[in-house]
């Protein structure tokens, strides 16, 4: 199984920091409106930052993927652990994409689409741009090779 690039933790931590900041701002606003002391929002924000960091680290630890002979396997999740198997014959198309945060730390994601309803798109984050491109090309090649029939 392959792990993600360690820098993905920075992306996830940044995201949770933004969430915590928004929440903190809202809590501060309410506290000021109710003319309560600002300790509660401060503690709340701190708590969310800590939780976000722990979550990001655990999430990184639990994330694994591998391209097998006939399927792509993913394992991920902190509270709910999810194992997904995407048979290569079921791959419809493959994207690689880079969000603003990902570009900041020089990472990219590969997204695999199937015709399914629930697991219709599977994202593998935390790849270097080259790795994302390689994975995309590899999956594309394998999917064509697997020669699926009509997908639905």
């Amino acid at each position: 199984m392959n792990a993600l690039h360690p820098r993905i933790r920075i992306v996830w931590i940044l995201r949770s920091l933004i969430g915590a900041a928004l929440l903190g701002a809202a809590a501060t606003g309410i506290a000021i409106f109710l003319s309560e002391p600002l300790t509660i929002p401060a503690v709340l924000t701190g708590l969310f930052v800590i939780l976000g960091v722990i979550h990001a680290i655990l999430r990184y630890r639990n994330w694994q993927y591998v391209v097998g002979d006939d399927a792509l396997y993913l394992e991920r999740g902190v509270l709910t652990q999810v194992h997904t198997e995407v048979p290569l014959v079921r791959i419809q198309h493959v994207d690689s994409r880079r969000s603003a945060f990902e570009r900041l730390v020089g990472l990219a994601s590969t997204v695999v689409y199937t015709a399914g309803s629930r697991g219709a798109d599977v994202t593998i984050p935390g790849l270097t741009p080259e790795a994302a491109r390689d994975l995309r090309e590899r999956l594309k090649g394998l999917a064509i090779e697997a020669d699926g029939e009509d997908a639905v």
Binding site: D70, A71, G77, L79, T80, Q81, V82, H83, T84, E85, V86, P87, V89, R90, Q92, H93, Y113, T114, A115, G116, S117, R118, G119, A120, D121, V122, I144, D147, G148, E149, D150, A151, V152
Partner: protein
């Protein structure tokens, strides 16, 4: 081929009706601003004229055509659109006719494919004969694609229709007693919601009628009466809509397709190709189980998320005896006799604990309300009676859960009140998902979901083996993976062994690698 000429006045009428409503509103404002009545009437006239012009242009622009490999639709007045739909990609073909359309002899035809977010081609409106003509022509084309030249004209359509109608084998026809039963067992849950919305809006008007009293007994009485009325009304509406919907329900089969007809006021008919069926679901509830009845639904990938809600049950057999439903499922999707593997028995304790938590929360909330209202006689402790029922409920929840690995299908069963047995052919599985929440890990159980492209699955109705032992989950995942590959390999072999030019190809052979690359790519949005 073009639309029916009668569609022009109907479409004008339809659009103008919508415009008229907004004009009535405008008119009522207009009188306040002293805009002359003449002006409003003139406005209406202009709008009707514009609509009529637009619809005439729409009629003149709209063309549909059967080509060698595709069904082409050219439409649009200002924004023009030309579409080619490969025959092999068409999922459902549905015809609907409401009362007014029936008077005018019109039908709407909807073609569904798996891609995109809405109906792929909506033909509004053609004559009833042309509609069934399109349906049977598409069926012909799908099974003998490329083998013959496009046929045109009503004569050929008529001939095909008669020919195919003769081939159809009747699978199911609803008997009056079954229709009545379907009505009796229906309960429309939308009614309480609607009534709630109306009543909350009209409380200021109703409140003077309600006896002004602080006595909780009277309030409770009013509440109970209201609740009973609500249940009776929902049931009546449900019964009426079920009867109107399933009036004259017929399910027939041809070698390649299922075909249904139903409806009293608005008539529906449609086709479902066998090779597009994703899942077959048999559902029942305690009442139906006791009386030996069940419901059958067939699911394809044709409908988009929003549509699945309103039209998902189209191909469902509303009610029939359990044996008959079982035979129908076998006819449609192959025979399977299996026994279910239940989740481990320890899981009943988990359900019990879950119910206890639920009861505790409910009691707590009621207690809180009682304290707030300072009502002495408020019996907040009533839900605690559920303590006796909780172990029974937990047992039944466990009892009705299970999964089975059949010869060609994964079969799962879930739910006590609405028990659903789902059959997914191995070759229909898209992805296999194994989920373990933090609580499930404590009990070392897992949920394995076999995701398909079916449109109802979007509501979280995928075939799922819930709360099975963690080691069983790993085993199930492996079995599903190997059986999917084996089923696909077998189908590939079958396909290759049938010569491409054979006159009677199997339903699957038409969706060959030739259009594999153009497979439904944008399907997942």
């Amino acid at each position: 081929m073009k639309l029916a000429p009668a569609s022009i006045p109907y479409r004008v009428f339809q659009k103008a009706g919508r415009v008229a409503i907004s004009l009535v509103f405008l008119g009522s404002i207009g009188t306040e601003f002293a805009i002359g009545r003449e002006l409003v009437i003139a406005g209406v006239g202009v709008i009707i004229l514009l609509t009529a012009g637009y619809e005439l242009a729409y009629y003149r622009r709209f063309r549909y055509e059967f080509t060698k490999d595709t069904f082409d639709v050219k439409s649009g007045v200002l924004n023009r659109r030309e579409r080619e739909i490969p025959y092999g990609r068409i999922q459902n073909v549905d015809i609907s006719r409401n009362v007014i359309q029936r008077l005018l002899g019109l039908s709407a035809v909807n073609l569904e494919t798996a891609g995109g977010g809405s109906t792929e081609a909506a033909i509004k409106y053609v004559t009833a004969e042309a509609a069934t003509g399109i349906q049977s022509e598409l069926r012909e084309r799908k099974s003998t694609r490329g083998d013959r030249e496009p046929a045109e004209g009503a004569d050929t359509d008529e001939a095909t229709k008669k020919q195919t109608a003769a081939e159809d084998e009747l699978l199911f026809e609803i008997a009056p007693s079954e229709l009545a039963l379907a009505g009796v067992l229906s309960f429309d849950p939308r009614v309480p919601g609607l009534l709630f919305a109306i009543f909350t809006g009209s409380i200021p008007f109703v409140s003077p009628v309600i006896p002004q009293t602080d006595s909780p007994a009277v309030l409770l009485g009013v509440g109970v009466v209201f609740l009973i009325a609500l249940v009776v009304l929902s049931w009546l509406v449900g019964a009426a809509s079920a009867i109107v919907n399933y009036w004259g329900f017929r399910l027939t089969r041809s070698p390649t397709e299922l075909r249904y007809e139903r409806g009293l006021l608005k008539q529906y008919s449609g086709t479902i190709p066998f090779d597009k069926i994703q899942t077959v679901t048999i559902s029942d509830n305690p009442l139906k189980r006791q009386t030996g009845y069940a419901t059958l639904a067939v699911e394809t990938a044709g409908y988009a998320p929003g549509q699945a809600n309103e039209r998902g049950s189209e191909a469902a057999v509303p009610i029939a005896s359990r044996d008959r439903i079982k035979r129908l499922a076998e006819e449609i999707d192959g025979c399977e006799t299996v026994s279910f593997n239940r989740p481990p028995k320890r899981i009943r304790r988990r359900y019990f604990a879950r119910y206890l938590i639920g009861l505790a929360v409910l009691t707590g909330v009621l207690y809180g309300i009682g304290q707030l209202l300072a009502a002495e006689t408020f019996s907040w402790y009533l839900p605690l009676a559920g303590l006796v029922l909780a172990p029974i409920a937990a047992h039944y929840k466990w009892l009705h859960r299970g999964y089975a690995l059949g010869e060609d299908h994964l079969i799962t069963r879930n739910g006590v009140w609405r028990r659903e047995t789902k059959r997914v052919a191995y070759h229909r599985i898209q992805t296999v998902i194994d989920e373990r929440t933090i609580f499930q890990r404590r009990w070392s159980v897992a949920t394995v979901v076999a995701d398909t492209a079916g449109s109802l699955s979007l509501l979280g109705n995928d075939a799922a083996a819930v709360d099975i032992d963690a080691s069983d989950a790993i085993y199930l995942r492996r079995v599903l993976r190997t059986r999917l590959q084996a089923a696909l390999a077998e189908r590939r072999q079958q396909r290759n062994s049938v010569p491409a030019a054979a006159s009677t190809p199997t339903p699957d052979s038409e969706t060959l690698a030739d259009d594999n690359e153009a497979a439904i790519g944008d399907e997942t949005e």
